[in-house]
Amino acid sequence: MSDTETQVRTAIREALRHIAPEVELDQVDPTADLRDEIDLDSVDAMNLLVRLHESLGVEIPESDYSRIATLDGMVTYLEGRLAGEG
């Protein structure tokens, strides 16, 4: 796992600790819709984005929401943004 990926996964795990404390990221199907997988409503989803913005400095616009629908998608997207793409 690259350093960036570790950083991203840690940030997601830490954010979810406040929003869905019982969730074990390792047990989430990384290709399934994340919100369905761990039952996040729209307020939880917003809180997740706010926390990721605070911890990683990445501001995810609403138009990119479809790219972060799954855990794999979210990790890839955030890695890309941290690497300076998009």
Partner: protein, 417 residues
């Protein structure tokens, strides 16, 4: 002057709460709205607030004590005040705060009344009587001990339940006339483990919903509207904002319901003692499902006057605290109507069950894209279905229908954006 701060009724049907901790100590000055401590209830641990500027004179219920609704927790000193400005506060005789009348704010007076301890049988004594905690008094009654003869070790020499048990010979399990003996309050507070908490919340929901369906003749209305232009504007507004400043569509719903209620106050209040009592403010309670089960509906205070940004941050805050932190007492007690929104992953329509003593609940379904005819054209629109469940004792469907149409109009035009 001195008065007591009593165990608040944190929800209909609450009979008692357990003091978890105090954030204040005798001699400390507190301001209206300050969180002064934590009380454990079937809705979870709740931050309790003070209603007036005052000084804490004495803590009557130490942590670990279970106290019935309406019975004193603290004695307050209110400086230079001759008039009781807050009718919710009792003016209790100083020497016997435990015999104050049940708090008037308790929405379940039958419960509070049942908990008021019988007056003493003995003729009045010239000497001021000892302070005895309500729990100790009940223990004393159960044990056949005269609490006046027990040496008190509690705050200010108050007699605690443990003192009563010690005086009774240390036998904590005598025949008791009470169906459920009180738990020993002596050990340190131990907030219920999660399964107990969930079972207690389930029972509280069961009691409230059973009462609702047994007592409240609901009528139901439904209306579907196009949210297309409003959602487009919302997307426009949110496009350039960082996540923390984006507006949630739930804020639009709350605002529209709150503004609608300004013209239909007969849906904003409580059915009590065979009459409708209109609420002073408009404080919609937002139904929040808890992870692992259960439901709370804390108030978003003064919603009509708050901006969409303020309502969004209020919603985010209250959702996070409902699930992972603590709600405030006022958030739990103040809702004047409930709004239940299924969010963006649910079904089309929700018909809510009214939370007594409220008289209405507005249901908001998931946004659904449908073919929609408007101005002679059929297009693809994002739509939402609103419902109203209202108490037919308090009002009729005609006014309910006008209210729901008003809310739909506010959402459709999206003028708030």
């Amino acid at each position: 002057m001195s008065r007591t701060y009593d165990m608040p009724a944190l929800g209909a049907g609450m009979e008692s709460g357990i003091v978890v901790e105090w954030h204040v100590e005798p001699g400390q000055a507190v301001k209206r709205g300050d969180v002064i401590g934590i009380v454990d209830t079937e809705k979870g641990a709740i931050d309790i607030e003070i209603w007036d500027d005052a000084e804490i004179a004495e803590i009557l219920a130490p942590p670990g004590t279970e106290v019935p609704v309406g019975e004193p927790l603290l004695r307050l000193k209110v400086a230079g005040e001759d008039v009781d400005l807050d009718p919710r506060e009792d003016e209790a005789p100083e020497v016997e705060p435990q015999e104050a009348p049940a708090s008037q704010e308790a929405p379940a007076p039958e419960v509070a009344a049942a908990d008021v301890v019988a007056p003493p049988q003995a003729p009045p004594s010239p000497a001021p009587r000892r302070r005895v905690s309500p729990l100790a008094r009940r223990r004393a009654e159960a044990l056949g001990v005269d609490p006046e003869r027990v040496e008190g070790t509690g705050p200010g020499g108050a007699v605690t339940a443990a003192d009563v048990e010690a005086a009774a010979g240390g036998d904590p399990s005598p025949p008791s006339p009470e169906p459920t003996p009180e738990p020993d309050p002596a050990p340190a507070p131990d907030p219920s483990p999660e399964p107990d908490r969930q079972a207690a919340m389930r029972r509280a929901i069961a009691a409230a919903m059973t009462r609702s369906k047994r007592e409240i003749p609901h009528y139901y209305l439904s209306h579907t509207l196009s949210m297309e232009s409003t959602l487009r504007r919302l997307e426009e507004v949110n496009r350039d904002r960082p996540p923390a400043e984006r507006i949630l569509v739930a804020a639009l719903y709350i605002k529209a319901v709150a503004q609608g209620l300004e013209a239909f106050p007969e849906l904003n209040g409580f059915w009590e003692d065979d009459a409708f009592r209109q609420a002073d403010g408009i404080h919609p309670g937002l139904a929040i499902s808890l992870r692992g089960g259960g439901l709370v509906a804390p108030a978003l205070h003064d919603a009509p006057s708050r901006s969409l940004e303020e309502l969004t941050s209020g919603i985010r805050d209250v959702v996070q605290r409902a699930r992972a932190g603590r709600l405030r007492g006022s958030e739990v007690t103040d809702p004047t109507i409930t709004v239940t929104s299924l969010g963006d992953r649910g079904v089309d329509t929700v018909f809510g069950v009214i939370h007594p003593p409220q008289v209405a609940i507005v249901g908001i379904g998931t946004v659904v894209e449908r073919p929609w005819a408007e101005g002679g054209m059929v297009g693809s629109h994002r739509t939402v279905t609103l419902t109203l469940s209202a108490d037919h004792r308090a009002g009729d469907g005609h006014r309910g229908s006008l209210f729901l149409a008003r809310v739909a109009h506010l959402l459709h035009t999206g003028d708030e954006l």
